[in-house]
Amino acid sequence: MKRQAQAVVLMLLGGAVLRTSLTDAYLRYVKEGLRPFLIAAGVALVAIAVATLYYELRERRAAHAHEHPEPKVSWLLLAPVVGLLLVAPGALGAYAADSTGTALGAWEEESDYPPLPDGDPAEIPVLDYASRAIFDEGRSIEGRRVRLTGFISRADDGTVFLTRMILSCCAADARPIKVGIEGAGTDGYADDTWVAVVGTYSPTMVRDPINNERIPFIAAETLEPVGAPVKEYE
């Protein structure tokens, strides 16, 4: 690869990283906390591209340019550019959740769950509901209405879940947290539809056939479609 072409590839890559990290698009791939580092990396890539062009032009003028091509594999750096700018896939959803066991086991039992936040219904994350329902046997949710937001996914046997993917670092380690929905009709809702469920604690519990981990249920009063949140991962 010629140096001019390298500069263009680096410029494209830096630009793609900057565009992804300056909009909310980066949230589909990595955690929020990585944003400043992504911006810094994008700026550095653009700077390397500019410096490469600068020295290339200067050496041309000085007429002692000796071409020193880099290997062909460098061209592959265009693949993430295409992925980020042209394909820009959405966040992982039901397809990934259906083939992965619920990840509740990653969170150790806490001895003590703080009271739910104020409000009726109380707005809490799916992971928070699932751990309170399983590890605390619903004690800290008893007598309260909660509102959970997630997308619809289904087990092989047709059980309908309200699901949220959680990330530790990037989408390669994304794992679902599933909560079964009972009491409200879910028939009209296709997989991947974002919904908000208002309901109360249910003692029903099933095991995820994939990894035998526990899946709690929510006794739903209402279920309504909502728009996908900006931050689709919890």
Partner: protein
Amino acid sequence: MLVDAETETGPGAPETVHRRRDRLPFGGLEVLAAGLIVILVARPWLTDALAAPWLQRWTVVFVSVIVQALPFLVFGVVLSAVIAVFVPPSFFARVLPRNDALAVPVAGAAGAVLPGCECASVPVAGAFIRRGVTPAAALAFLLSAPAINPIVLISTAVAFPGRPDFVAARFGASLLAAVVMGWLWLRLGRADWLKPPARPHTEGDSKAAAFWASCRHDIMHAGGFLVVGGAAAATLNAVVPERWITAVADRPVLSVVVLALLAVVLSICSEADAFVAASLTQFSLTARLAFLVVGPMVDIKLVAMQTGVFGKSFAARFAPATFVVAVASAAIVGTVVL
């Protein structure tokens, strides 16, 4: 002052390149421009073609592995350019013990101060070798840095609350494996397995020019291979069903090997792998320790990057040996401590 193998191959090499290129009516830049136009025109069709759920999942995982790794890779590349241009070789001669066998554990322990993951340590270790550090010590650093730095240890402690012994086991087993690999290289390693450190032409250039050339060169090399590794990890991530893995969880020896292989396949960043290990609750702690010791030292994207920086004949020997040593180290430390 910057002397390397390539400058000594003489002025003939660049000229042959020129002659070959003169025969072509167009260069890479024109192909690149044409390709971009084709992609832009085909974009609506491309989006449709990639709408299948499994392809969507593949693309998300592929893009996210690379997005996650890039800041660390860029950091490592810039740091290695600083080392290559501004830190004189005499510095390393001063801080590392003269005795190679002693330099290995010192360099391994020094890995604790590079806050990053495996993507940063590959270019930095490459820079160490170019600056005259004995390869065995640089390789011990390469293996230990992504596993025992403070960020990784803290995230391990967060993922395994109330288990400081597990964090200590990760530190101990990783450092042990890194140092053993360094010593193995001293005894068995051959210099000709390592590809002569490729370097851009920098003789006669200013320090600034050398710095930017080093950045560009390292990104083009390691970055291309990072893409190869990201694609392989995304593929395996999508095709290995979790059901197969959980089926072996209750067989103690097999489960250690399976989780070690899973670490190779998944290529998760070492700053995040502890959370994945924590979620593999069906497995014994020793098996999960193997996952965390092997992952930062041998995984698909890392082997691809090592191939790019150190050469094929190096990676083909070094990666399998590291895998065996890391599994053994995790099994021993896990059995004793956990």
